[in-house]
């Protein structure tokens, strides 16, 4: 029987069950082919000042995508995603407090070039993707966003990162941004996303203040989550956020209110899977305090 997620599910310790074997919010459907998601971490990708080591980051991206696609060479792996002659848009995120790191953008762009795409046919953009000719003409998209909490949507990840493709952003705000998954059905987007990269180098697990950012709630997790399925990637990201919130804020604040858009991207919009039974999570690299 379906019922809305409530505080009582936290008290009972059945949050995960109610979230549909993690996120389904009561969904009841059989698992089919599993969506592979790779979580890769490296202890030294950040120094004590959170400065990124670009070489290590490139290696993490390469290893993650190779594992995701079952390839032993990063260029061959990216050649499975994009082809020479294509126009590729890398949808990044420039939120000033916690943007997609330029080092990660560069690592992605490098491999897209290595895969044979001409540099002048690779777009890198956030706020102006709707008018950027490289995104208007894009035949493939790569979706890269940092993981953070959000007052309305609960979390910002790969699904919400496509909000800039919307004619009206506030139109997606009702009911805790429930229908963000429909962004992936917009004509400029549908069927074009080849890779989703959730940057969890320094995720933000809680937000305060009008801009929803405070350094107290950011930690050095030193990871990337990569997958072909944006819903599965965000589902793992949400599990990470919930685990960190449970550790720091307590069980009662485990769930950032209320990330229903992840499950609805699956059950209502059909763009991926939020069911943990249908997600194959592969963990690579540094395992300390991995939380998920």
């Amino acid at each position: 029987m379906k019922h809305p997620l409530t505080r009582r599910d936290f008290l009972a310790g059945t949050t995960v069950a109610v979230l549909g074997a993690s996120l389904g919010f009561g969904q009841e459907k059989p698992a089919t082919k599993k969506a592979r998601v790779v979580l890769i971490r490296h202890r030294d990708v950040l120094d004590e000042n959170q400065k990124i080591n670009p070489d290590i980051l490139q290696g993490m991206l390469d290893e993650g995508v190779m594992k995701l696609l079952g390839e032993s060479d990063p260029v061959k792996a990216f050649q499975k995603l994009v082809k020479p002659g294509e126009t590729v848009g890398i949808k990044t995120n420039v939120w000033s407090y916690l943007p997609t790191p330029p080092e990660l953008e560069a690592a992605l762009k490098r491999r897209v070039i290595d895969a044979g795409v001409a540099p002048d046919r690779i777009g890198l953009d956030d706020h102006t993707v709707m008018t950027n000719p490289l995104f208007v003409k894009a035949t493939s998209l790569i979706n890269v966003a940092p993981l953070r909490t959000h007052y309305l949507a609960g979390v910002c990840g790969c699904i919400k990162n496509y909000i800039m493709f919307a004619e009206s952003q506030p139109a997606y705000h009702p009911d805790s941004c429930a229908d963000l998954g429909s962004l992936f059905k917009l004509p400029q987007v549908q069927g074009k996303t080849r890779l989703n990269v959730l940057c969890v180098l320094t995720p933000q697990f809680h937000g305060r203040g009008p801009h929803n950012f405070n350094r107290r709630y950011v930690w050095s997790y030193k990871g990337l989550i990569v997958g072909l399925d944006p819903v599965a990637v965000d589902a793992i990201g949400l599990r990470l956020i919930m685990a960190k919130r449970r550790e720091v804020l307590g069980k009662a604040q485990e769930l950032p209110p209320v990330p229903k858009h992840i499950q609805l991207a699956d059950t209502r919009h059909g763009i991926g899977t939020s069911d943990m039974n249908a997600i194959e999570l592969i963990k690579l690299g540094w395992g300390e305090d991995i939380l998920v």
Binding site: R7, H150, Y151, P170, H173, G209, P210, F213, R216, A252
Partner: protein, 274 residues
């Protein structure tokens, strides 16, 4: 909001940079995106914002929200408190990188990119300068005084209207079981000694009694289906929850140690006189 001219352009080595900006109910999304909903759920009118920058990339942002009335300003402040008082305005809090306070109809935040002593001095100094320009203090919403005073943790009292604020303050459910919107007034308080699990009291005022009754039915059906006709049930943490209605008021007690304690706290609510 003609306040920019009164606010200092320098603050502890930081200088105002760029143009001052103002956003209203229609344009707040341009500034805060999803965070806008938190303020639009109140009677928000407009926000004045100014950035300060300094050596080494230091940044500070001042936001002055005109919330329309002191009650709404208190509401915006009250929904997200967790740091010690900074002694600025009617009530305030300061934690590394973030000052929040309210004064009269204004709710103010000052955020800094750094969280060291210099940033704290700049943030607190600016806050003290700003509060002088915001006029006299104003009253909290009358509904706040309905909370019984005994064992109340005053710094944990919140006032709001909508489910987005409720769930950020005290998660109840993923759906809007209590049918909250801008027409409802809510006050939530915590009871008990510090450190112990608090008992939480939520009082909601609906436009009319039928609204309160419908919300109670919705709450009992989805949250407390095991409750009897009296609206009491023991939940998974072995604590008690109760839901009662009096006229247009819905009163819910969460996490009481006994049914009797829930009943007693619910009965202690000081409903405002008509």
């Amino acid at each position: 909001m003609d306040i920019g001219a009164k606010i200092p352009v320098k603050a502890d080595g930081l200088t105002a940079s760029g143009k001052d900006r103002t956003f209203n109910r229609q344009t707040l999304y341009d500034y805060l995106d999803g965070g806008a909903e938190v303020y639009l759920a109140f009677d928000f009118r407009e926000v004045f914002t100014r950035k300060y920058t300094g050596p080494g990339g230091r940044e500070m942002t001042l936001d002055i929200y005109d919330m329309g009335s002191p009650g709404e300003a208190f509401g915006a402040f009250s929904c997200d408190r967790q740091d010690p008082s900074a002694g600025i305005g009617q009530e305030s809090e300061y934690g590394p990188g973030l000052l929040r306070f309210w004064q009269g109809r204004y709710f103010v935040t000052v955020t800094a990119s750094a969280d060291d002593e210099a940033a704290a001095a700049a943030v607190l100094g600016l806050g003290k300068d700003v509060v002088k320009q915001l006029g006299p203090p104003g009253p909290k919403p009358a509904l706040v005084s309905c909370l019984p005073a005994e064992s109340l943790r005053p710094e944990r009292t919140s006032f709001f209207h909508s489910v987005v604020n409720l769930n950020n303050r005290f998660f109840v459910a993923g759906e809007n079981l209590l049918r909250l919107d801008r027409s409802t007034d809510c006050v939530i308080g915590e009871y008990g000694a510090g450190g112990a699990e608090p008992v939480t009291l939520l009082v909601v005022r609906y436009p009319d009694a039928s609204g309160a009754l419908a919300a109670r039915r919705s709450f009992l059906a989805s949250y407390l289906p095991d409750a009897g006709p009296d609206g009491f049930a023991r939940t998974e943490n072995r604590k008690w929850v109760s839901a009662g209605v009096r006229a247009e008021y819905l009163t819910i007690v969460f996490d009481a140690p006994s049914a009797d304690a829930a009943r007693k706290l619910g009965a202690s609510v000081n409903f405002p006189a008509k």
